[in-house]
């Protein structure tokens, strides 16, 4: 699949927007059809390049939100201030628009079903995007036990909220806990504080289970989660981190 693209030039392909999903007030998914796409692994990302009429080009990286699906690639983009690429993708892109992308890129923050070990996924904000590709892949073909903690400012900021609820409701080995750090509805049954060591100890796997852990979110979030996990006794080399990954700009 991705093996064919390991060596050689990473070529720009032309993708067409075939669907749009408003995920939250600040995040939108773009479903792209990309002829020539060679497939990818959950956790990988793409480069997007926009070219203005005068030739000016802007290039940014975005995590892929879905597992491999032929020539389909879905990205989820969050609004960033003065983001010259993200503002186009969020406010202007319409079905039928075309732009250039290349990939897949990334060999470290990557997971595929079939490894067998339990999986622990910890997301801060839009850090859920590459982790969602892993959850979706697990739902399609995997059997691994997955525990996932999602931290968001408020309920309406939780990207993929309903899909995460449905995944957990299947009760076939995927558990999702959402913590809301700024505001929460009255009677909110879940945690309402930042992810801390106690929460990770309670909701994650014991180190003896040797889980594979993926953490993605803002830099401060990722660093505090990773060091708390090491403090709990998890092996550092089994904790993979992505600092706000390629979802910005």
């Amino acid at each position: 699949m991705a093996g064919a693209a390991i060596h050689g030039r990473l070529t720009w392909l032309v993708a067409e927007v075939v669907g749009l999903v408003e995920e939250t007030p600040r995040a939108r998914s773009l479903i792209l059809n990309c002829p020539g796409w060679a497939g990818h692994r959950p956790g990988q990302h793409i480069d997007v390049r926009l070219t203005a009429a005068d030739g000016y080009q802007a290039q940014r990286s975005y995590s892929i939100a879905t597992p491999a699906d032929g020539e389909r690639v879905t990205i989820t983009v969050e609004r960033v201030e003065n983001g010259e690429v993200s503002s186009y993708l969020i406010d202007e892109a319409r079905v039928g628009d075309r732009f250039e992308l290349r990939g897949p890129i990334g060999g470290y923050f990557v997971w595929e079903p079939g490894r067998g070990q339990p999986l622990f996924l910890v997301a801060g904000g839009s850090g859920i995007v590459p982790l969602m590709a892993m959850i979706r892949a697990r739902l399609l073909t995997g059997s691994e036990e997955v525990r996932c903690v999602v931290s968001a400012r408020s309920l309406e900021d939780v990207i993929y909220r309903e899909e995460l609820q449905r995944a957990a409701a299947r009760r076939d080995g995927i558990a999702v806990t959402t913590t809301l750090t700024r505001s929460h509805p009255e009677g909110w049954p879940g945690p309402s504080r930042r992810v801390d060591r106690e929460m990770l100890g309670e909701l994650g796997w014991p180190p003896s289970e040797r889980p594979l852990t993926f953490v993605c979110g803002p830099t401060g979030f990722v660093e505090s989660v990773a060091s708390a996990l090491v403090g709990l006794g998890h092996e550092p080399e089994r904790i993979r981190t992505e600092r706000f990954g390629p979802t910005g700009g």
Binding site: G3, I6, H7, G8, R9, L10, H45, D47, Q57, Q59, R60, S61, E78, V80, E81, R102, G103, I105, G106, G107, Y108, F109, G125, S126, P218, T219, G220, T241, E242, R243, F244, G245, P246, G248, G249
Partner: protein, 89 residues
């Protein structure tokens, strides 16, 4: 986001591919300033500059700078002692 302007070295994966012709984010590199060894995907990348500045995640020294030019890219290897390039695939 929220004012956090730096990204992971993973976001530089496409540029590194331009330079090396292959996936490089999971290859190790050694900081020329402090000697720390880390995966290139773990570099800390800043995009506020005209281009991209990758710094060592241990000591903050500038490792690699990539600036677009009218003809392509100018890449400065500011402070990186070595990088691994796996050739087995």
């Amino acid at each position: 986001m929220d004012g956090e302007r730096h990204l992971d070295g993973n976001s530089l994966g496409g540029r590194l591919w331009d330079l090396f012709g292959r996936e490089m984010t999971d290859e190790a590199g050694c900081c020329g300033a402090c000697g720390a060894v880390a995966l290139l995907g773990q570099l800390v990348v800043y995009r506020d500059a005209p281009g991209e500045v990758a710094r060592c995640s241990s000591c903050g020294a500038v490792s690699i700078v990539v600036v677009p030019t009218p003809d392509g890219l100018r890449v400065t290897f500011e402070s990186i002692r070595w990088v691994d390039v796996g050739v087995g695939g």
